[in-house]
Point group: C3
């Protein structure tokens, strides 16, 4: 299976699920981290995640230009995570390049010849957020997930660390 | 299948899933829209959705009295969406008729002879909202979903545009 | 099946699902309630739930020391619910005993010889909460669910009153 979208809630084990797949992979692994260390809370989280990964894997830090990182990455590629990438774009002053960058990433999904695991937060199952930026973020994340799911071979929803198969659908 | 409850998060593709079923339907289609255009954001969303539907379908705008709209609607009927309907009721000054209207809708589900697709937001998977109205809304939506799911032939949870079958249950 | 984790959103019917299992159980039932009546809203909810349970069941009120209640409870045991238990701990002034108590509960899951049903709110599918305590709560709940799911025989996600099987996984 080439492209898998791995959705999950906060602390659902979705990154760990991607990690386990990468650990089982026979060959090089590239980990594309989209997180930026804005504050102490985030810095600690990034360091904790990094320490869990084998030292010989390649780490690419790519908060904005994910398409370029996808071109550069070798072997099995994990992107952790898409919602942070969306969030980084929406919190930039200049959003004008967001749609082009998003479409560049979508275009790369169709022609993958090496395995790709895309981790993202499912954020749309709560009540409507008060502030417009949160609503915008939720909309962009939702549309992105739909576009990726349509192109992915597999979509998995991680619940309490357990993968539920969303795509292919079961009748 | 007569009655299907289609649940999904924000921007999950739940309305699109109902739309695709209606497009595949051989015969008249009635689209019951519960949205009210309170502001510019909502006005744009309503217009965008309307433009996606075939011009020969019937559109009924029914922000409050859904039971009457269900009686009037012909052919395959889509209700888009239940959570906006609940929200319209709770934001009215006079809520005294809400329970009667809700029960009138539930009563109509058992005796459908034409296909009905009920679209609604799953809103209960976040942390407890700060304000009492949001908690009340979440409660009413949750109880409504349970009552409808008990009467529906099919319950579907749309995740990233992909339908997951909730009912009938799989063992 | 000895240990089942029953996850669901607000008003999803998760407690009712546990209740139905307990009603079908042939033998004594113990209901461990973790709720504390902080305000009128909560007092009403507790009373409503209690009235739905048979009078001959044992009720144990255990807002903090769940491990002790698990040791004392006889027959089929329902814990309703874990998220309130986490919340009670995080809202206490002295959190120092939380991790030890959590680990004591986890240790008890592996050696159950009578059926246990653990009800909990899935709270991680919304956008990131504004305040640090809510983020902390969401993290603790998520990690707890992962730890319990790894030890449970069955994990169920209740959606609109309908149980979806999460574990064992379906391929």
């Amino acid at each position: 299976m080439m492209v898998e979208l791995i959705l999950g809630g906060a602390r659902s084990g979705k990154s760990r699920y991607a990690l386990q797949q990468a650990l089982a992979h026979d060959g090089p692994v590239s980990w594309i981290a989209t997180a930026e260390a804005w504050d102490e809370e985030m810095r600690e989280r990034i360091a904790r995640h990094k320490a869990e990964r084998p030292a010989h894997w390649t780490t690419l830090e790519s908060p904005l230009y994910l398409s370029a990182a996808l071109d550069a990455a070798q072997g099995l590629v994990v992107v952790d995570c898409l919602t942070l990438w969306v969030s980084n774009w929406l919190c930039q002053a200049d959003e004008s390049a967001w749609e082009a960058e998003r479409d560049a990433v979508l275009a790369r999904l169709s022609r993958r010849t090496t395995p790709l695991r895309l981790v993202s937060n499912e954020v749309g199952f709560g009540i409507v957020p008060d502030n417009p930026l949160s609503r915008r973020f939720r909309d962009e994340a939702g549309f992105l997930h739909q576009a990726i799911a349509a192109r992915a071979d597999t979509v998995t929803l991680v619940v309490a660390g357990i993968p539920m198969m969303v795509k292919p659908t079961r009748k």
